[in-house]
Symmetry: C2
Subunit: 225 residues, 2 copies
DNA sequence: CAGTTACGCTACGACTCGTAGCGTAAGGGT
DNA sequence: ACCCTTACGCTACGAGTCGTAGCGTAACTG
């Protein structure tokens, strides 16, 4: 995207970049995705509409970048001394981010567009998904250092598990917030962390899975997961 | 929605209703959400554009109804004899549904619109969310009958747990499919069910969280991948 | 200073939206 | 049968958006 080329000519205005992304977020707050127009963003940013099109091919790509910047600013992994506490806090922070109108309205819209736009899908993957997956990897590292989780022997299985955890956490919070339209509050985060750490039986009010009333179901052969 | 009124005059054509919803789904497959136009749907359905607007105020409401019909057709709870198997199968069925282009592209788009449209949010809640939550309630009933889950004493807590499970399952599948853009296949469903039933420790290795021991060959330092 | 690239501005055709107005089709009440 | 009411198809329309082209000017490089 930024080949070493372009050493000559007038450089692009970094000021304009910031103004445009800021204007995009402001417009998302007021108008939402569907009523946001390129012309409006340009006017807010004090820039010509053509300048937008020189940098982004369409509305979707512009909004992806605006949202990615927001995520990077806001999401950090807490270190509260236990896996459970870190999960709860991360869930709450992510939920707080989704409270922002510009995040709510655009995240889903961009994903929707991406369902029939391969280039946009790739941009989301690199700009948002991969960037946030590091939180899971880091959290696992810390939990392992604390002895809360075993260290995996199979790196491929470990990567699969990390992806799974990422989708479960991010997916649950997004679904609760945007689809079910319910609040992600402290009690919910606590229940959710409990479910993640101990599974169904615990979430239903108990400790270990084997105490659920009958012997735990047959396990898979070693080496899986 | 259908007040006892309107007993006089020409009745609305049920044929037109079906044609319109069918045309909407077909258009979603070919064009996706953003390029779908009311005029195009009308043409496909063989009706006048004004007929669409007499029934739905805008594109979002039309698509919500088209998708809700699709969900009702497709989602049933399997009964395979164990909670684990039922969860896996439900995950796979839901994923198969999300493979359909008309479902992928419109579910997210409609949710995005709903973030700044209270009426649409309500329509989604009653038309989609509440309808599918029954799957969770039914699944729990069966698991309790089999002795796989304890019966809750507190109905309020039980309801909270059911909502939680619903968001976790639906959210994880949607996120995996549409955001991470990875396949929800049998191995993933198996890992996911394992996580839901037994929690982190099981997904990362085995047994109860307290047994997290296991000799740990020092793995890569932080920040890999 | 010459070459190159970015910027602001204006204008434009193509398209979609959602509505209004009209004449016609299809039922119900008496 | 007759009117009344409502739905339908059709056409036309103003408003708004999209994305691009063309122009003159600004900024930076060697």
């Amino acid at each position: 995207m930024s080949p070493p080329a372009r050493r000559t000519g007038r450089p692009r205005s970094a000021e304009a970049d910031r103004a445009i992304l800021g204007a995009t977020r402001a417009a998302l707050v007021e108008l939402g995705w569907s009523k946001l127009t390129m012309g409006d963003v340009a006017a807010r940013a004090g820039v010509a509409k053509t300048t937008l099109y020189r940098r982004w091919a369409n509305k979707s790509e512009l909004v992806v970048d605006a949202v990615a910047a927001l995520l990077d600013e806001q999401l950090e992994l807490p270190d509260l001394g236990s896996l459970r506490a870190d999960v709860e806090e991360t869930v709450l922070r992510f939920a707080a981010l989704l409270e922002r109108p510009e995040a709510r309205t655009s995240l889903m819209a961009v994903v929707a567009e991406a369902t029939h736009d391969e280039a946009l899908r790739e941009r989301i993957r690199t700009t948002i998904v991969d960037r946030q997956k590091r939180l899971v990897l880091l959290g696992r590292e810390r939990a392992q250092a604390r002895g809360e989780l075993p260290r995996e022997t199979d790196p491929a299985a470990a990567a699969r598990t990390a992806d799974l955890i990422f989708d479960v956490i991010a997916g649950a919070v997004v679904h609760r917030t945007l689809v079910s339209a319910d609040a992600v509050d402290a009690p919910w985060a606590r229940d959710f962390a409990e479910l993640l750490l101990s599974g169904f039986a615990a979430a239903a009010g108990r400790g270990c899975p084997t105490s659920a009333g009958r012997p735990a179901p047959a396990q898979k052969p070693a080496g899986s997961v």
